[in-house]
């Protein structure tokens, strides 16, 4: 299965990446497993995503790490929000 992954704000700048596609052999993974896959891309990725303040969204809804991601889903990681 394939998922789309997006990054925003400081996280996008640190990773030097706003968007990428990830493939998994299984039919679903948890957000935590998406994080692990991304962390294997290097120490900046590992360190940035290990930050407990990073927020996660699947298909535009905030989720927790145990949330299940399926084929075609859009997963996003971003720092705490500061609008308003």
């Amino acid at each position: 299965m394939n998922i789309q992954v997006k990054f925003f704000a400081q996280l996008k700048e640190k990773l030097g990446c706003g968007e990428l596609t990830l493939s998994f052999p299984s039919e679903s993974v948890t957000v935590s497993e998406v994080k692990s896959a991304l962390s294997s891309k290097g120490s900046v990725w590992q360190k940035s995503l290990a930050d407990g303040h990073v927020l996660m969204a699947v298909n535009h809804d905030l989720v927790v790490e145990s949330f299940s991601v399926e084929d075609g889903d859009e997963v996003a990681f971003f720092p705490p929000v500061t609008g308003g």
Binding site: H53, H60, P80, V81, G83
Partner: protein, 147 residues
């Protein structure tokens, strides 16, 4: 009604939308957030607002819905700007009409408190010394405790 836009908004126009043909709502509360000249940087000259297109609208609609379930409010408008803003520019508008003032006050503040925590906007401040991302504040998280 939820709008995310680069363009500015006009309080008088938004007030008109909340009140025209509306003889049932005795109370209208509005909140406007503006760019201050000090924040986490001294001598702020402006800021850039990044957002997560698609999710911003969905998050704001969700917050509007929660407010409507909780209080007897009739008309709700949420407008949030994105892009480059200068000092004193308007950033965000929340306007609510209700038969009762206590509901209008509570729901407007509720929406702002949740917007500050759950809507994917990020501010980058520009100062004379350069620019930096604004850090989220614990007091905004704490503000949710009252709801």
């Amino acid at each position: 009604m939820v709008v995310v836009q680069e363009a500015d908004f006009d309080l008088a126009v938004e007030y008109q939308k909340l009140t025209e043909n509306n003889a049932q709502d005795g109370a209208v509360v509005t909140f406007i957030g503006r760019v201050r000249d000090f924040n986490q940087g001294q001598g702020v000259t402006g800021l850039t607002l990044e957002h997560y297109p698609g999710m911003t609208e969905k998050a704001l609609k969700g917050i509007e819905q929660k407010a409507k379930e909780r209080w007897p409010i009739n008309r709700v408008t949420i407008i949030h700007r994105v892009g480059s803003l200068k000092i004193c520019d308007q950033i965000v508008f929340v306007g609510i009409s209700s038969p009762h003032r206590e509901s209008a006050f509570a729901a407007t503040e509720f929406i702002m408190d949740y917007l500050k925590n759950d809507a994917p906007f990020w501010k980058k401040e520009t100062t004379k010394q350069g620019c930096h991302w604004v850090e989220a504040q614990q007091k905004d998280k704490d503000a949710l405790k009252k709801w």
